[in-house]
């Protein structure tokens, strides 16, 4: 019988990281999700990160569960308990464990003898052997091994087995026959650990009540729900990681919520296009015809859509594009995360073009901004980007329950319907009737007087073709004005002031939110630094952003790309001075963690004497 001997003196309650190393295609993701959900159901906040390869079967994959009683939302960067199920990555995995941590491995086969660390507790459990003894079918054995290590971790950290039981029942609701073997596997691991390891681990779970108003959801699913609630009736797409699950989500919600119960017909239309050029073309066609339409994609898709994006911009057709960013350039690392398309989205297409871009930071904002994006696209008659990323889009985040206000109505922007057209003498598509830069549009086919011709070639404010300099410029200037006017209509920044006078701030965007806030807290606690915080939520920049920056000597601009793309936009589109803006760049493909931020801030402050 192995005795667990932690090198760490004190027990860490509800504050540690479990990482599971496995081979993809072995069904481990659902077991890992189950483990995380169980902790969440115990009322303890969690952060989950699925680090998977761009491949279907056979390559290393990891799942990180951060248990964070304090409710941090970023990745921690530490590993306290490593479940090392993959022989191939075993050496790396052992190396990654933080001093004082624990490593659990399958002791069915001898583990590489050379690999070992004094400062890590290594626990072997014959998972494969136990599964082979208890289950007949080969695939079942593989699957059950995953459930077995869930049981082991449950025993060692104190996961409530009743919660696991409930979750397994929910999981196999449709196939109740699968419940007993799965519970058997969990219990097998649980019992083995209980029997063989006597001393408690240094890492313990204790039930809290901090998650009852929350859900665990990924950003793509939340965005899909946002599209449903925004009243989007048309979606076109071409599959691409990590955006695929957005359309999968939209489809399944529509099947559930949007099929006419009487006729069985669909109150939506989803088309899998032949490529991204076609997907955006379809969205433009549907929008032009008066429907709310969107396409989810990732970087390569945006590159391919560039020509059409300029068309929509110049001919003023609304369109909503979700760019769930992955690591670029080119094919890059399709299953890693980055914020590398910020500049592209802001200025996509040839010629002078500026777009509206929303930057959600978590699934809740994916939902909210999806809804917002359709309003903005129709209000400003222009393409609107929702710039999410793989981390937000594909990982399950703890987030407040999504809610809907039934009195909310979509803002369809300025549309002359039949009755309006009856009243006016003549309709001109690009005329700035109200002086706000936004012309009126009509729904093709609705009324003879509303007919107009849309083109991406030079046109006058009346909508006619032109090659005349002044007439051309008139329209192009108005379009810029319209974009500028959007600055106060897009979501304003999130600002968190530390409450003390300070000359330092951190400014960031999207999913860096949690890591930045945690870094600020640490720098306050450990270095006694007072730091204010701003998170950009949209482009064009809300005036509050430049007002905020004006108050600091140093604004650290934290973003996940190599080229400081957000900083470029800030420098270009606000009054901020360049010397105020100090970049912190974290672009290696992993969800942001506070370490790098803390280090960079310290370095910078030290360098300033």
């Amino acid at each position: 019988m192995n005795a667990v001997t932690g090198t760490s003196a004190r027990t860490r309650v509800n504050d540690f990281v479990i990482k599971i190393a496995n081979v993809n295609g072995t069904g481990s993701a659902s077991a890992n999700g189950l483990l995380m959900k169980a902790i969440f159901r115990m009322g303890i906040p969690v952060v989950g990160k699925n680090l998977f390869p761009s491949n279907i079967q056979g390559l290393p994959t990891w799942y990180e569960i951060r248990v964070t009683g304090d409710g941090w939302t970023g990745r921690s960067g530490e590993v306290d308990i490593m479940v090392a199920m993959n022989l191939e990555s075993y050496a790396r995995d052992l190396k990654d464990v933080s001093p004082g941590g624990v490593l659990i491995y399958d002791s069915t086969w001898p583990r590489p003898s050379l690999l070992s660390r004094d400062d890590v507790t290594v626990l072997g459990i014959p998972l494969a052997r136990m599964c082979n003894e208890n289950f007949a079918n080969a695939r079942t054995r593989v699957l059950m091994k995953n459930m077995a290590y869930v049981g082991v971790v449950a025993a060692l950290t104190g996961v409530d087995m009743a919660v696991i039981q409930t979750l397994v029942e929910e999981m196999f609701g449709a196939k109740p026959k699968l419940i007993p073997p799965n519970m058997q596997a969990v219990e097998m691991g649980y019992n083995y650990a209980k029997e063989h390891f006597t001393q408690p681990l240094a890492f313990k779970l204790e039930a809290l009540d901090k998650t009852s108003d929350c859900i665990m959801i990924d950003g793509n699913t939340a965005a899909a729900l946002g599209c449903v609630y925004a009243g989007a009736s048309f979606g076109a797409w071409y599959p691409i990681t990590p955006s695929t699950s957005l359309m999968d989500g939209f489809k399944s919600f529509c099947e559930q919520l949007r099929v006419d119960p009487e006729t069985g017909k669909n109150n939506y239309c989803i088309i899998q296009a032949e490529d991204e050029l076609s997907a955006i073309g379809m969205v433009i066609g549907a929008s032009w015809n008066g429907a709310r339409a969107f396409t989810p994609t990732s970087g390569p898709g945006i590159s391919l859509m560039s020509e059409f994006i300029g068309f929509a911009y110049y001919s003023e057709v609304p369109a909503v594009l979700f760019d769930v960013q992955r690591v670029g350039p080119s094919t890059g690392m399709p299953t890693r995360t980055q914020q590398g398309d910020i500049l592209l989205a802001a200025y996509a297409s040839h010629g002078d073009t500026k777009h509206i871009v929303l930057f959600p930071a978590n699934p809740k904002e994916c939902f909210d901004f999806a809804v917002e994006a359709f309003d903005l696209a129709e209000r400003f008659q222009t393409p609107v980007f929702v710039l999410s990323d793989l981390d937000i889009g594909m990982n399950d985040w703890m987030t407040p329950k999504l809610e809907w206000d039934d009195s909310r109505r979509p803002d369809r922007g300025k549309v002359y319907h039949a009755a309006d057209l009856e009243k006016i003498e003549k309709f001109y598509r690009y005329l700035d009737v109200d002086g706000d830069g936004i012309p009126y549009r009509t729904i093709p086919g609705e009324h003879p007087k509303g007919a107009y011709f849309t083109r991406g070639s030079g046109h006058t404010k009346y909508g006619g073709y032109t090659e005349d300099s002044a007439a051309y410029q008139d329209v192009l200037d108005r379009i810029l004005q319209k974009w500028k006017n959007a600055a106060t209509k897009v979501p304003g920044p999130e600002i968190v002031r530390c409450g003390k006078p300070t000359r330092i701030a951190i400014l960031t965007v999207g999913g860096c939110d949690g890591a930045a806030k945690e870094a600020i807290a640490r720098l306050n606690a450990e270095d006694d630094l007072d730091i204010d915080y701003l998170r950009v939520r949209a482009f064009p920049f809300h005036p509050e952003i430049e007002n905020f920056i004006a108050n600091y000597d140093t604004v650290f601009v934290l973003e996940q790309n190599r080229d400081a793309q957000l900083r470029t936009l800030l420098v270009t589109e606000t009054t901020a001075r360049k010397d105020q803006l100090v970049s912190i760049l974290d672009y290696a493909g992993m969800p942001a963690n506070p370490h790098l931020i803390v280090d960079r801030v310290r370095e910078h402050i030290a360098s300033q004497g």
Binding site: C214, I215, M216, I217, T221, L225, V228, Y229, G231, S233, F234, A236, F253, Q256, L257, R258, D260, T263, G264, K265, N266, N267, C269, I270, I271, E274, L277, S278, G281, M282, I284, G285, A286, S287, N289, G290, A291, A293, E307, F308, F311, K401, L402, E403, W404, D405, R409, P410, T442, I443, P444, G445, G450, A451, Y452, F453, T454, G456, G464, Y465
Partner: protein, 349 residues
């Protein structure tokens, strides 16, 4: 030029059932070269829509980029239109038709627009059986960019400045057949008598109706040695099947009963009648269509309605679209409301 106002002397013009004359189906003045085949196609459109009693604003015009694609501005001035980007009209039409299947979608493209940059979207619109009339104004060159060979130029065709094409042409008709198109026709801008009825039949078709129209470019591809010239087309021109649309209320006249006309009932009412011209050939038989096309290769310009299948589901059917177009569907039918959301949330708790 939109700046030129056309004289409107329409007092004595025939009015259709809607009380409209052909003038009501015209658009702005053409800016194409005098004699361009595309202008004749425009004229045929005007006549066909007039004869079909189409409410002008119930049509939507879609096109790409090219001299041909410009023409959607020259007819149906009272319809909305969208002149998109080069080669991508089919996708725009797809999105538009998905959310409002009730309009008539009139697509105009060129051989460059559809067979080079746009061949992918063209192929996939066929595959979806998108309900639209899709005309390729086929002149074997890129007119607007001044005379480069297009992918429909025949082997041996001479360009204006002497170059000879050596690459095999892409025949949109054969391509469409091999991709499963449900209405495949070829016309000639110089034969309005054939073209107008074809357009009417195509409008009545539920699904993708292709009319490949040989439409000579007088500026860059109408010289000797060009197989898309007027002279060459007249010489090798061979009408195979005459097709026309006969509205429900009208009787199939004797004219059609001659020569063993075939009547195809159309999904939205009315019939398309098919009259054989010279060959024993049934355009409802895809095998025969293939056979005819591959044996004619190069020697004749076969025209008429070469293939029709009125039985296939169109994109709307395949997507189970509702009767009420999505673009006007009330928000209450689209937004499931807060209670449903609360229910959905349970799955994530």
């Amino acid at each position: 030029m939109t700046s030129i106002v056309k004289p409107r002397i329409d007092k004595h013009l025939r009015r259709n059932q809607l009380g409209l004359t052909v003038r009501d189906y015209e658009g702005v003045m053409s800016t194409l070269c005098a004699g361009c085949g595309h202008d004749s196609v425009t004229a045929a459109f005007v006549q066909a829509f007039h004869e079909m009693n189409l409410e002008p604003h119930r049509a939507a015009k879609v096109s790409g980029i090219g001299c041909s694609s410009k023409t959607t501005a020259y007819f149906l001035g009272q319809s909305s239109g969208i002149n998109s980007v080069h080669g991508r009209m089919p996708s725009v039409a797809t999105g538009a038709a998905a959310v409002n299947p009730d309009l008539y979608y009139i697509g105009v493209s060129g051989d460059g627009d559809s067979l080079s940059i746009g061949i992918g979207q063209f192929a996939h619109a066929i595959r979806r059986n998108l309900n639209m009339l899709y005309c390729i104004e086929n002149n074997g060159v890129y007119g607007l960019t001044k005379g480069q060979f297009s992918a429909s130029a025949d082997i041996g065709t001479k360009a204006k400045y002497g170059e000879v094409n050596e690459q095999p042409p892409i025949d949109p008709v054969l391509l469409a057949l091999s991709l499963g198109a449900t209405f495949v026709a070829r016309g000639f801008s110089g034969d309005k008598k054939q073209l107008v009825p074809l357009m009417k039949a195509a409008l009545a078709h539920k699904g993708f109706a292709l009319i490949d129209i040989v439409s000579p470019c007088v500026t860059f591809n109408d010289h000797k040695g060009s197989t898309k010239s007027y002279a060459h087309t007249y010489e090798y021109y061979h009408p195979v099947i005459h097709a026309d649309f006969v509205p429900e209320e009208a009787e199939i006249t004797a004219e059609y009963q001659d020569g063993g006309a075939i009547t195809v009932p159309m999904h939205h009412g009315g019939n398309v009648t098919l009259r054989k011209l010279g060959r024993d050939y049934d355009p409802r038989d895809r095998d025969q269509a293939f056979h005819l096309l591959r044996t004619r290769e190069g020697s004749e310009v076969l025209t008429g309605l070469l293939y029709i299948d009125e039985t296939k589901p169109d994109m709307g059917d395949m997507n189970r679209l509702p009767d009420e177009p999505l673009n006007v569907m009330d928000y209450s039918k689209l937004c499931p409301g807060s209670a449903k959301l609360a229910e959905v949330m349970k799955g994530y708790s």
